[in-house]
Each structure stands twice: as structure tokens, then as C-alpha cells.
Symmetry: C2
Subunit: 125 residues, 2 copies
DNA sequence: TTAGATAGTTTCCAATAGATACCAAGGAGA
DNA sequence: TCTCCTTGGTATCTATTGGAAACTATCTAA
């Protein structure tokens, strides 16, 4: 928490922070993290909630987030089996930032779409 | 700024916010936005600074960010030609959030790498 | 004349994303 | 018993994207 905080340069190749950013900067991961803020959820529940995500990508993204310590995976031997995903304490430290991003997007959507229209008119094709 | 802020559901398919998030949740875009906080920069300057980015991906990402109104592209008829990229006011409203993300990554790097090691030991192969 | 800078584009191959089908284990309904 | 439904995934296939390297054009300096 004290020293060595500036030992890395984000713009350096092979910077460890880059590796972290690489795994975070992903639309689905952000949506999943934001979704789990409300409490643990099961695989198919997440899949139905986040419309448009495929099973493969959901499974991959969940495993990636689990591997990075942001969420936990708990199996309950019910029938059919229940698998619950929940934010870890580490994951919870991230959700405020993630929410800030999604809320920025929501708030500035109109400005962005206006910019896109202006750009596409200025450079057609 | 007042009403209709909750008219969209981020988890809905075809939600406009999703389209925005899609363009933002990208490692290179985040690094570029963070880099431009310090003032305007030219193409090759950015390329040298953000080590490891290819010319193609840099050009693509810059054009994407320009199209979304987050940065401006100014051509100076010098020789050789100078092209300057700068944050727009809209882009500047985003950089605080982006910085929060990169700083979170920097701060929690060690915890993440520890989690990765633990995971890889628990599930080898 | 050759090398360097400017800001890209083009080409090619590998990696990823997404859609779809499939799997096993069991419960409920007919 | 047969079939469909659920659970949480994996397997397969194709389309899109990512990255490395080479190429473009114009001009300057050595």
C-alpha cells in the first residue's frame, strides 16, 4: 500500500498492469461484474439476464474472472447440479469503477451517437 | 441530464449503452485515452509511447475513438505532414473513470497474480 | 544516393467470437 | 416407458478480429 507503487509503467511492453488490463477490458467481463453486484447468481440465470451472450463466451469469461480472483464458483450437489457465481472481496473492490464506466456510457450515449452521425456524414464510405 | 436516465437496461440486447461499452472496453483504447490526458500527441509519438501496439491497430483505434467523439484529429500541412490527436471535451469527461481502472489494475496486480497461481495449481491443465 | 522522418495501408496468418449442436444426469408428465 | 424439460457446460464450425511485417508517398538531410 505504501512503496513501490510506481515501479511499473503502464505504457511499457510486458508491464504487469497491461496483463491485468488485458483481462479486464472486455465488454462481457464488465457486464458480468456489474451484474453480480446484487448477489450470487447461477450460470443460466446470468445467461438469461445478459441477453446476447453465448454459452461458450459466458463459460470462458466466468472462468477467466474466477482465475483472476474476481469471482468465486461454488458447486452445490443438487439435482440438477447448481453452480453459483459470486464476487470475491477483490471483485467487490472493482465494481464501483466498473459501474462508473457503464454509467458514463449511459449518460453520454446521445453525445456519442451524435458524434458518430457527424463523422459518418463527413467521411462517407 | 434530468429525466429518462433509466430508459435503457444495460443487460438488454441491442441496448445503446452496450454499443458504447463495446467500443470502450478495449485495452488499447483505454491506454490511448489515458495517454492523451497530458495533452495532444502525434501518431508516431503515441506509437512509441504505448509499446507493443501495431501501426494498424493504432490507426484503427484512433479512428474509432475519433468517430465516437472522444478525440479530435488535426492535420497540419507541414512537411512531413503532422497529425495531432487530442481529447475532446467529451473525451476528457471519461479520463477520470479510465484512470480509475488502470490504477485499480496497478494496485491489485499482486492479488490478481496470486489468484492466478492458486487457480493454476488447483486446476493444472 | 541513401537513409530517415512523417502517417498511415496492405497483406498474411493466427487467435478469438459467436452460433449451433451436443452431452450427461435426473425429474415431471403422458 | 418415452419424451421433454432442467442443470452447466463442451465440441465444432465459421466469421471476424488481432498482430507482425512489408509497402506506400512525400519531403529533408547527409
Amino acid at each position: 500500500m505504501t512503496a513501490m507503487q510506481q515501479a511499473y509503467d503502464v505504457y511499457e511492453d510486458r508491464c504487469p498492469t497491461r496483463l491485468v488490463l488485458d483481462r479486464l477490458a472486455d465488454k462481457w467481463a464488465l457486464l458480468i461484474l456489474d451484474r453480480l453486484k446484487g448477489g450470487p447468481m447461477r450460470f443460466n440465470h446470468i445467461r438469461r439476464d445478459i441477453k446476447g451472450i453465448s454459452q461458450k463466451v459466458l463459460a470462458q469469461t466466468l472462468r477467466k474472472l474466477e482465475r483472476n480472483g474476481l469471482l468465486s464458483r461454488t458447486i452445490f450437489p443438487t439435482v440438477p447440479v447448481t453452480v453459483e457465481y459470486a464476487l470475491t472481496p477483490l471483485g467487490r473492490t472493482l465494481t464501483d469503477t466498473v459501474s462508473a464506466l457503464t454509467h458514463w456510457a449511459e449518460k453520454n450515449m446521445d453525445a456519442i451517437f451524435a458524434a458518430q452521425r457527424a463523422y459518418d456524414e463527413a467521411y462517407p464510405g
